[in-house]
Symmetry: C2
Subunit: 512 residues, 2 copies
Amino acid sequence: MSAGTEGLLAGGVHGPGHLRALTATVLDTLETAARARGGPLPAGGPEAVARRTRALCGPVLPEEGVGAEAALTDLVRAVAEGAADPADPACVAHLHCPPLAVAVAAELAGAALNPSMDSWDQAPAAGVIEELTTAALARLIHPAALAPDALITSGGTESNCVALLLARERAAAGPHDGPLRVVTGANAHHSVHRAAWMLGLPAPATVPCHDGRIDPAALDRTLAGLGGGPVLVVATAGTTDEGRIDPLPEIARIVGRYGAELHVDAAYGGPLLFSERLAPRLAGLEHAVSVTFDLHKLGWQPVAAGVLAVADTALLAPLSLRTDYLNADDDTEAGLPDLLGRSIRTTRRPDALKIAATFRALGRRGLSELVEHCVSTAEEFGRAVDARPALRRRPGEIGISTVLFRPVVADALEPEAGDAVVAEVRRALLMDGRAVLGRAVAEDGDGRHRLWLKATLLHPVAASADLLPLLDLVTETAERAAAEEGRGGDGSGRGGGGGGDTGAPVTERLSP
Amino acid sequence: MSAGTEGLLAGGVHGPGHLRALTATVLDTLETAARARGGPLPAGGPEAVARRTRALCGPVLPEEGVGAEAALTDLVRAVAEGAADPADPACVAHLHCPPLAVAVAAELAGAALNPSMDSWDQAPAAGVIEELTTAALARLIHPAALAPDALITSGGTESNCVALLLARERAAAGPHDGPLRVVTGANAHHSVHRAAWMLGLPAPATVPCHDGRIDPAALDRTLAGLGGGPVLVVATAGTTDEGRIDPLPEIARIVGRYGAELHVDAAYGGPLLFSERLAPRLAGLEHAVSVTFDLHKLGWQPVAAGVLAVADTALLAPLSLRTDYLNADDDTEAGLPDLLGRSIRTTRRPDALKIAATFRALGRRGLSELVEHCVSTAEEFGRAVDARPALRRRPGEIGISTVLFRPVVADALEPEAGDAVVAEVRRALLMDGRAVLGRAVAEDGDGRHRLWLKATLLHPVAASADLLPLLDLVTETAERAAAEEGRGGDGSGRGGGGGGDTGAPVTERLSP
């Protein structure tokens, strides 16, 4: 091995030694960069971030390399100074969680060893760890089933896609004529529609919602209108926009009456099952033939940590596949485990490792405490919104840990101008690097749909007091944006004042 | 923040401090475990590995957690003692590479910050790094194109699926009647067939191969037989079984004559482009409308590091998608970059970060040296096989860095018994933890298909001298297996003597 390549590899007996120096550089750089950023995301907006990132990272593929230390210092500085860090309590836009240190440390081991989950001879022990982990998840999700099973996926989108694929294949093998019809709520994640498109299925029939949840009477009418044929109803347990859980017991009854099947997208809500107190919110989930579950949301895993659970392992048969180089018949007969039919991917990361490390570290009870923390923080945050005259919460219950609210100054304007103020508040806070809030169109108390600011509270440690400064920021920024909107804004009624190339901060940055 | 949750998170200003302790545990455990394993994979076969892994890791989801340090110690010990480690020169079964330390260290930063690549407000700088990285890859793969582009995928399987999806949508929008027909070689990866199945396309037409490569005359006949309609021809640059590169210039000419389109699966061979000396082997690639490229093979990245390159960015239009919470029109108009149409996934890892760190660290020239090292090591290894009377190499050229060979004792037996000896040699070495060799059915000099041992040489540092002990192991083990086969074996003609539950080593373990 030549001197120039000494220290090159992460694996083997010497890899950990090489990694000690490089991970020290990474951690030091992450620490310095987090202080330099000084907030939940970088200030200046997309143009400024792009400029700084390009200056640090370009050219990405030079003719001559700069060496591992220098490359890591520049790249990690760029990505960290320019991060929207969900570990900051003011980073609450999306189902984008701050990962647990134990999970991140486990990822390091997985990356260094690089097992690939498609054959035993690439992942002897990692395959067993995946089996143990998916068995635990399967039992959590379908506790009364005789032979439940679960797959590790790249996320909710892949889980929903595989659920529809399995249903398509069952439909093709069944007694009915015609392709599978998918029926879902107007509140469903876009990935349900995208999966139907990818799989060559008819576009899903969409059932109207009331208060962000599927209206059971409307579902009944939709199913009656389809008049037979194989149907998969996709309900949601934790909508992306509002955290709403569809009325699963009623939906399951209706689905059963029509001889249809039920898939539940519980990518967000699924981890409520860890909590004895909150699990009853998912009553009815046990009737689902398949369940999308996701641990890179309310499970604090670094991406990817998706799960698809099925009520019976036989439901996975359409994924089985033989290919001589990975699972030849004689190898399987001789006792080599066949891992290939566990995914639509081939080469596949050991994502179960970080999940298993987290489960073992925290236990069911520890995970329950973190889930309950997020739910109760959201309730406190909602009460804090209610206590502020300048803000108004979307009427009704809080969905899991998602709080929708808007500044009352927006209500005083014409509907379109009011929504533009809401959008502008969000963008102004993003541009200034002060807060990462989300947005959602949702039904108001008067039945009209309005744009709301969305706080998706996934921080497992931050107290509601850590979140209150967000409300001050929104109030101040909204007053300014409404005044600007009142003066005519940019004329489009869309409030583009925070546009990426203006560079002018609308609010002042609090932390230096 | 309560005392019990102190140190929980990986991000923010304090995360790196929490990670220092935990990554030290991980690296110490990896080092100890690699020494304890003492070879390329654990001894004892699947049952023994499962027993040891279950003892260390179970129960995966206890009621009470054991804490991060204890969980990591057990889980990392289990996965590392039970790893098939590609950093060991005797681990050569698959396109399963030993990852570079620089890439693994970069993964740590990505996991700690957890950017998600589906919106700017989850990945302000990571999105820019991905843009720089995909631009560099696009220019490498389609250097003469005006607006080439590339996507990051989870691997070759997803890349091939997206390539077929884009072709399906072009076909649907085009003037022809009927669905897209996919035409591919008998040597193509199974993911091409699987993608057609997933996407609801007719099963691909399969073109016969000669010497592991598509026979151009046969392709011509197949295309003539289809009689019009939209067609995508999928060629391979680096087959999984043999490393063969299809005759791309001739294929491109035939494809052009029929008005069809060409996709090239260069998951294995693509990185030859880094080398000025080896890039000419991929001549013709420039005619492909899309190219599968993969950096977790000849690019030494931990999984996932897939790429799909397209000749023109407009070809990606079918993936574009609007959803209010990620890329509302008014946000895009106000300058927030829209990242959603860059994948079929939604939440998505910053896999570009480790690729960019590797590119910057090594440069084009450094990557070229590593690729050339693998190719020349394979040639030396092939010569070493040729020099041994007890072994026989598959006639013909070596495909990239894949060497097929078999013990001559297998040739003296009936064809099925001979193949059983080859399979048994591989399994015996796996069971004893001494070597991880692959297997492939491939055409012999007499035109018959036989089973071969496969060495896929992706180690960027190991010299051919490091690999020679493999040949001794194979020779010894083959003699024993042939003698056993001669005595009747297990009666099935399949040589199941290394079966998982026998536990009896067929060969002795060299390293303690």
